[in-house]
């Protein structure tokens, strides 16, 4: 049988099959990616924390642990390092209480509209510093903020600052008093500490260096 001359480009069957293949494969890949992502962005458990099993997002009880930020040679950027247990506002929080505290902190951050000026995990306004790793900012550790606020611990100094930010001018762009109560401030500090323990694949880049260089300026970019 002699072969007929034929153009595939005008064949509806060809286009239909190609479109079905591309759409079908992309759909399967994206559904797979969605479930894969959901697994990776879900919170770890308290038991995993105790065993040292790493999750991108640790359990709420990470507030009971020391959180550090260290350069990882293999990964090429800084990563949160969960250390020994430490008291948070003078006590160890149960899984239930820690989860409730974090939830309260998240709601407060939304009610007070932190993102109007700050960025959280890169989202928000570029007016004030990025808060993703705020808990790890050297200013809370080197005695500067505990000295100014007259508090003994980092978390108490943070809570005091959040309640009365205009009393502690740390930067030319001063944070306004937002009427944050003691309970809300404690919850916000827990929210910030937990956020600092999230493995953000090195975001914000070179936090420790830029925190020193910018002296309280923005790390938002």
């Amino acid at each position: 049988m002699s072969k007929k001359s034929a153009s595939v480009w005008t064949s509806i069957r060809f286009w239909r099959r190609s479109a079905a293949w591309v759409t079908g494969t992309a759909t399967v890949l994206l559904i797979w990616l969605t479930f894969d992502t959901m697994g990776q962005i879900s919170m770890g458990s308290d038991a995993d924390l105790a065993k040292g099993i790493k999750h991108r997002i640790p359990a709420a009880t990470v507030i009971n642990y020391h959180v550090d930020y260290q350069f990882d040679q293999k990964r090429g950027h800084e990563v949160p390092v969960i250390g020994e247990k430490e008291k948070f506002f003078g006590k160890e929080w149960s899984a239930k209480d820690a989860a409730a505290l974090l939830h309260h902190g998240k709601l407060t951050s939304q009610a007070k509209n932190c993102m109007n000026c700050h960025t959280l995990l890169g989202n928000g306004g570029y007016y004030a510093p990025d808060l993703t790793k705020a808990w790890l900012d050297a200013k809370w550790n080197d005695g500067t903020m505990t000295g100014i606020t007259g508090k003994n611990t980092k978390e108490e100094a943070m809570a005091e600052f959040l309640m009365h930010p205009s009393q502690y001018p740390t930067h030319a762009r001063m944070m306004p008093d937002l009427g944050i109560t003691q309970d809300e401030a404690v919850a916000l500090v827990a929210f910030l500490k937990h956020m600092s323990a999230i493995d953000t694949n090195g975001f914000p880049r070179n936090f420790s260096q830029s925190a020193k260089r910018l002296e309280g300026g923005t790390h938002a970019h």
Binding site: K3, K4, A6, V8, F14, W21, L29, Q40, R75, G76
Partner: protein, 53 residues
Amino acid sequence: MWETCSDLVCNNLFAWLNQGPLTLTIFLHTVLIVPMFFIYFQEKKRLQEGKED
């Protein structure tokens, strides 16, 4: 082009695809474009044999 996986999770297809700038491109071309050549030649053969759409 091929770099060591530096993500938290590495035994994973999507982490593997994120190793370098070309890995995702090569993967998508392999699974989407190469089979389209197969579809093209199959349809061409079909038309040359005089079968209708």
